[in-house]
Amino acid sequence: MNASVRLSVSSLRAHKRRFAGTFLAVFLGVAFLAGTLVMGDTLRASFDTMFGNATSGTDAVVRSADAITTPGESEGVREPVDTDLVTTIEKVPGVAAAAPNIQGAGQLVGRNGDPIGGQGPPTLAGNWIADPKLNAYQLAEGHAPRKSGEVVIDRGTAERGDLRIGDTTTLRTPDPVKVTVVGLATFGGEDGMAQVTFTGMTQADAEKYLTARPGEAASIQVRAGPGVGQQELVDALTPVLPKGVEAITGQASAEENTDMISSQFLTVFTTFLLVFSGVALLVATFSIHNTFAIVVAQRTRENALLRALGASRRQVTASTLVEATAVAVTASAVGLVGGIGIAAGLQALFPAIGFPFPEGDLVISALSMALPLAVGIVVCLGSALLPAVRAGRTAPLAALRETAVDTSGASPARAVTGLGLLALAVGVTLSGVLLSPSLWLAGTGAVLALVAFVVLGPVASTTAVRVLGGPLDRLRGVTGALARRNALRSPKRTAATASALMIGVAVVSLFTVFGASLKATMDQTVSRSFAGDVAVSTPSFGAGGSGLSPRLADAVQRLPEVDTAVGLGRGVAEVDGKGRALTVTDPVALERTFDLGTVHGSLRDLGTDGIAITEKEADKQNLTTGDKARLTFTDGRTQTFTVRAVYGQSELAGDYVITRDAWAPHRTQDADTLLAVSFEDGVSADKGKAAVEKAAAQYGNPEVQTRDEYAQSAAGGIDMMLTLVYALLALAVLIALLGIANTLTLAIHERTRELGLLRAVGQTRAQLRAMVRWESVLVAAFGTVGGLALGAFLGWVLVEASDGASDSAFAFAMPPLQLAVVALVGLTAGALAGLRPARRAARLDVLRAIATE
């Protein structure tokens, strides 16, 4: 064993350069993984601290016990509690203070007239709680709101909106309220609670603008007297609370808040990053395997000599594995340090982009160190295993043979296996897409397809390179021909090198196709079901924004240019035990501005006890017109509705429609999410839009968009997501490029004499460089084309499977332009990867190359 180790060490020392690529691949993968884990832990811990600090004065929270959660939401909607309860609670022994906490949506408008925030995190407004210990926000400057119209806002929001004490601005609740900033507050010692915006108003203002009825609060915060524990306080409170109202400890409430942020943001964020480090490591596997395979092949003579001198198979295998271990351990360890560096860098970067990242030490858990280390070592050793075993199998006689390069093509067995796998993959995928829609089946098929592509790589590489390189002979003459034939030399090596890039490109194409399909879906949704001329909405998504004033619909309706203006509000209720989103609107007007498909029954007279539902929901619940449906609201009351209409299309109108009157008894803060407007005949689009814009200006200046603009803005979030995905995938592509460069460098080393000969008989340096670069481009082209094909197929699978498995209809779209860009990037990447090896090859000393034995 000692001998193996010594051999490995001397070989590593002698061939540092060869392992540089492997080292980098492992390093990048591990660093990314470790960075993700450390950052996730650190963020979670800092949110914990922040909420802990902010709510440390609150010992108990009193609130409604039941929450209704609709699909796709992490935080349920709760019925408010009576503010009168405060007096009852204050009398309970052990209570030092109690204050109602009124909360609603309120979006501030910044100095430049644009709303602040709203792109994800909530925009909150509430009453300013006088007791500083019960208030999660601490007054930092100015004073608390004393009279109507005065507000305190958090410092982070003030900075983002360029607002100062004394400034007057608009708060959309969604009705525009004129407010004056009189104070700035901090949250848990930070300028704000992440990017959440907060506006604190007087209790009277809060009740007026944020609740449906005065005397209601989201919860009541309670502080315990000296010597009273939190649980003790909760136990004392519980008996005096009415039915349906509960008390929880302040700590439990803080934990709930942290969990909510975690599940909404952190978990999604870290899962996202973990998936990409997985892709990066998968790509790295190919690069590493390839390096070891080539190194072992190049060392055939050396290994054979060792075997001839009496080294056992095991010793030869072990020496290769020890080499791999050394690279793996070093690269992984350095990767860990790099990962911590990445996390630290992000911690420094976040505040710079306006995301308050609480200061404090990085949280480095044992898991976030052990996992990346283990993954790095396993990936590296796993990749080196096969080449190591092959090294051990070297026959002693191989020492006497001339060449060491594996030029064998693909075996028929491989072709058969690959084609079999591909057929199986297509079969499984198609049955998951077409027969019984299931994301699980489709996903299995997708993985099988990937494996099939990798297995088939060497089979396809010969033909593919020949076809792709066909034009090269004509374009670049003998340089092109040489490049093409060099790429054809070792089909297995070419395929393995290209596979790494293929996976990267496949994932990029998959997202590109999926993104384009999502956009097409939005476009189709809007053009199919939106029959109006303009849409009014506030550009926000996630929990942000405050929606539209419900009075806007009436104001727009009164315009002479407008035929119909219908506002769509949102309500929640439980149907059949599951939370559902309700569309609260005027059903008659709805029918005029939205295409609802075939309608059975009539939307005309839903009244306060009628409901309209989509065919799909009707089928699911087994309902037809005339049937009764039982809806349970957040106040715990259950009401029976009669199904008066069943309609075909649900895309914008939602699955359940009730009238404003029917919703009124259960409403919370009033807001519309969308206002659809159709013009009178003869009113031009420009004129109509201008009129609506003018009317909307008095209601917080929401966005007025034509149908096309509306469809496009709905797709804006997708572009943002794609940009992020591309940025992350750049890492995988980078690793693939390192792989190509590494393989080329090793190949050039093998071809030293040949290159020397070419230079001797008159190949210029420029020609030599071009030859190497074109080979690189060809290998990249093979990977790119494979990746595009695989990615487009998987994109189609994902879209179709989502279409089948989810409620909403998906449209499939192939974006030729974007895919062409992906192809171009792949080829350019190939050319870039070839740059360094080409330069090194050109620097070759002709004489020495010829003389090399």
Partner: protein
């Protein structure tokens, strides 16, 4: 500076004047060439002989533009090599010089035919140098080396002797001013070696080309018109119309004193 004009005008195809080549420095300094001046006349087959370490390969490399002299000058035709940068040197080798090396003469990915035309193709392929004439020239050349039935084979499918014959054909394909052969028969059995040497000699005589061959084999040297003897980096003798025995005797004379 086209390839074909120079041959008839200049009396020498290549020459070196006061060639000095020094490797290393300080204690380990080696003078591989120590003031060699020699002409290689047009239309002649010259052999450079000498014991190992005599500097014969270095002389050839410097004369052919593969290596640079420490001092002195090397010329191909009228062109002084030290004034050329790497690109010009490369183009000169491509257009005006042919090479036959001891081994590894052929690009394994190219066919026999492609290997033969490689320098022409590197120069820009067909049409670059007056094609019809070249076509005839190449055709004749292929017949001379006797490989017409192997044109579409890969080098790995040929025997060592056949490979060297292809290399000879490649060396003459571009009608170079001069062909340098570095131990062209070193890796061949005597029969194949004889074939290759015969081929070189025939080509020189039939086509009035110039060949300079480095060898340590007196039998090989006997195929030349003239033998130049090198020892310790110096030109020590020249021999017209050599025979194997005469060359061998001359060589023995070197070995005894050193």
């Amino acid at each position: 500076m086209t390839a074909t004009t120079a041959t008839t005008i200049t009396p020498t195809a290549a020459r070196v004047v006061d060639a000095v080549k020094v490797y290393g420095s300080g204690d380990t300094v080696v003078r591989a060439l120590d003031g060699v001046s020699v002409d290689f006349p047009v239309g002649r087959f010259t052999a450079i002989m000498g014991p190992s370490g005599s500097g014969k390969s270095t002389l050839m490399h410097c004369a052919a533009g593969l290596d640079t002299l420490t001092s002195g000058t090397a010329h191909i035709g009228d062109t002084e090599l030290s004034s050329l940068d790497d690109r010009r040197l490369t183009l000169l080798r491509r257009d005006r010089v042919g090479f036959v090396f001891q081994a590894f003469n052929l690009v394994p990915t190219l066919t026999v035919a492609e290997n033969i035309t490689l320098p022409l193709d590197l120069a820009g392929g067909k049409g670059g140098k007056g094609d019809s004439g070249d076509e005839e020239w190449l055709d004749a050349l292929i017949d001379v080396v006797g490989l017409r039935d192997r044109l579409h084979h890969r080098p790995s499918e040929l025997s060592g002797g056949q490979q060297q014959r292809v290399a000879v054909a490649r060396a003459f394909a571009g009608r170079p001013d001069i062909v340098f052969a570095d131990e062209p028969t070193g890796n061949l059995d005597s029969r194949s070696g004889e074939e290759v040497l015969g081929l070189l000699g025939r080509t020189v005589r039939r086509t009035a080309r110039t060949v300079v061959m480095v060898t340590h084999d007196p039998v090989a040297a006997a195929h030349a018109d003239e033998v130049v003897f090198l020892a310790d980096g110096r030109l020590v003798d020249r021999m017209e119309s050599p025979t194997a025995d005469k060359v061998l005797d001359r060589m023995k004379a070197f070995e005894v004193p050193s």
